[in-house]
Symmetry: C2
Subunit: 199 residues, 2 copies
């Protein structure tokens, strides 16, 4: 089936969305051009506006329209804690947990020398400037428990120590509600190594 | 987590896409505003162009940029066969099967009186005009095997008969590769009722 040029162009363009293959892209295109037209117009406008206006927070590198993101601009956060995460989605995940009141620093990736991603690409200089200010007392390393994430955490812990700041790593272990039987060996090893005495 | 206004606007707008919930929309937005920026610009352009230029084929109501879609404009199709389907995706599905050389008529829906969708909304008048031309010898009813699809097929078969055109319904039965054990009763009933003598 050969679609006409602009329809085909839309189907191809929709594949820029994460997790969207040719079949889903086609379904989306048909929807947007039929009953979804009002939403499609709104999407063109919203995406255009966002591309023009959304950039990184000057302080934490979170995505925002403003100079500072709502968290960095807030007066109610604990400025002695700085949690380093790999992506904006991680900020949302930690915020949703409701268990953290400090600020964030978003790396937008992890160390990956083969891809040309070194400390500079992750904003290590901006982070060093924040640490040098002296307000941060603990740098919480919440990068992903992958090889790259661990390497990034290790690098950042040294950066923190160089500025006389305490560095901590979030705990890795059996997820709540998870069953030991189905947890992988690496996670179990972390869970055992990170065991804590009960009183 | 309160996102800034335009970022939130983009996340909401992405929910216009079929099958996209709040979490996927957020993931898409973050992707489009970070590593996916070139693709995002291309998507704005392609969607804008498609919204302006893609409309329904003047003859079969398939989505196309042209006056006539590539199938209706083609000289190599059998114009005595007209296959009626509910959506453009159905045209693609039948074309992909490679087993049909006739033309199509796309209803863009099915009869649904409660939603205000009657014959006029499905282009029944355009279809009647095509049948009145006299070239079509068989109207193949390939609407979905749902209550609405069956009702639509029934209505269209009467329309065909009124124009002296033969109407046929595609076969429903056990799908190829399917196992009888796991096929639902309605499908099995159709498969039995539609049984054919083997020679």
């Amino acid at each position: 089936m050969k679609h006409s040029r602009n329809l085909l162009g839309l189907i191809e363009a929709l594949r820029a969305l994460p997790g969207v293959g040719p079949k889903t892209a086609q379904r989306m295109a048909f929807h947007l051009l039929q009953e979804g037209r009002p939403g499609a117009h709104a999407l063109v406008a919203a995406l255009g506006t966002a591309l023009d206006s959304v950039h990184r927070c000057a302080r934490c590198r979170m995505l925002t329209d403003e100079e500072l993101c709502s968290l960095c601009a807030s007066q109610g956060r604990d400025r002695s804690l700085l949690c380093v995460v790999e992506s904006p989605a991680d900020v949302v995940a930690v915020e949703t947990s409701g268990s953290y009141q400090g600020l964030y620093f978003v790396l937008m990736g992890h160390l990956s020398p083969l891809d040309g991603i070194g400390p500079d690409e992750l904003g290590a200089r901006d982070l060093a400037l924040i640490l040098a200010e002296g307000g941060v007392q603990e740098l919480i390393l919440a990068t992903n428990p992958t090889v790259e994430g661990e390497a990034t955490a290790h690098y950042l812990s040294e950066l923190a120590h160089a500025h006389g700041v305490r560095a901590s790593r979030i705990a890795h272990g059996v997820p709540m509600g998870g069953e030991l039987e189905y947890v992988d060996g690496g996670t179990l090893a972390h869970a055992l190594a990170g065991r804590q005495l009960v009183s």
